[in-house]
Amino acid sequence: MSEVPDVEALPLHRIIGGMPDADARATFTATVIAYDYEMVGLCYLITGSRETAREAAQSAWLKYWSSPPELRDPSKLRSWLLSVAANEARQEVRRSRPTVPIDDLSVAGEDSDSATNAALAQALMTLATDERHLVGLRYLIGLNSREIGDHLGISAGAVRVRLHRILGKLREQLRDE
């Protein structure tokens, strides 16, 4: 070669690293083991669809793998992954993907657990997407009001108010059905 450009100076150079393949995959696998279920579960509550939830989580993993976040605090990774996955799920809902959990409704009546799940699924689907997202963060992921507030960019007080309203709606739905 006659001349090698200064790679660091190129505007399109935003290198993250040349981690050896085995190390990168090991790190990735450990992260998937730690967080994939939570991500898919949260997306499932938001979308009501297993397939769409898996796709949303997959999109989040693709972003993580191709453009890992530069987090000063590694403990924020879980929050970052959940946020990305939830955003993907919400976008899927906005794209008019089915929001009725057909799989769960279809099994209603087969046994008591299925009936309970179907009742909850129906109740959840009466909530807005934002509300189902909040339900997931609180009751599946187990975040407290402050953590949810950090996650959603609202105050802890606002979280508590919204949760109170959501619980009221769910109570009504479950009572009426």
Partner: protein
């Protein structure tokens, strides 16, 4: 959980449910069980394989496609594989026209394209190596000037190199003038930049 075998009607009659704390706890348990019953767990290797591809023994560049493309073009561009990969009908550097702009065709053996980084850019309206492309559509890379660099999927098994997935199209805004261009086997003397330096 709660013994709520219930159909939802039982919620109204269960006195314990009248207390907000109990109800919230039961909702939490219901949600947990509801999600658990959905069989959402996937083998981590399946997830990793779908995103990162099959495990490789060699060093892999992680990061955005532009980094991979640029780094590889610069570092490995000197390899003379361009001369032996394909034997096309024309003699001389290969070209492809996209949107009225003529690009040089560059090959690279270690290029790994993350499809999430690609966006359809435009049809390839003319090329002396169109036969080697699996699509006549060029793709831009996220964050990269499309007048500098595009990619186009290669036909599987093109030439004798089954690993070649994408060709790089280097345009007039090329910041890498020293990268090795693709030439067919009849081109003659290997250009200096392709001679492995």
């Amino acid at each position: 959980m709660c013994g709520c075998t219930a159909s939802s009607a039982s919620y109204g009659s269960n006195s314990a449910m009248n207390r907000a704390g109990d109800f919230e706890r039961e909702i939490g348990e219901l949600v947990t069980r509801y999600v658990a019953s959905a069989n959402l767990r996937t083998e981590p290797q399946v997830v990793v394989g779908a995103i990162a591809g099959p495990a490789k023994a060699d060093r892999r560049w992680r990061g955005p496609m532009p980094v991979v493309a640029v780094g590889v073009v610069l570092v490995i561009g000197s390899i003379a594989i361009a001369n032996i990969l394909l034997s096309g009908p024309a003699s001389g550097p290969a070209h492809a026209a996209v949107g009225g702009v003529t690009y040089d065709v560059v090959v690279d053996r270690s290029l790994t394209v993350e499809t999430g980084e690609l966006s359809p850019y435009g049809p390839i309206t003319a090329s002396d190596y169109a036969w080697a492309f699996s699509q006549q559509e060029a793709y831009s890379l996220q964050g990269v000037n499309p007048r500098a660099l595009l990619v186009v999927p290669a036909k599987p098994g093109t030439g004798d190199e089954s690993w070649l997935n994408y060709f790089i199209l280097v345009g007039p805004a090329d910041p890498y003038p020293s990268a090795c261009r693709y030439h067919d086997a009849t081109f003659g003397e290997i250009p200096a930049e392709c001679s492995g330096g």
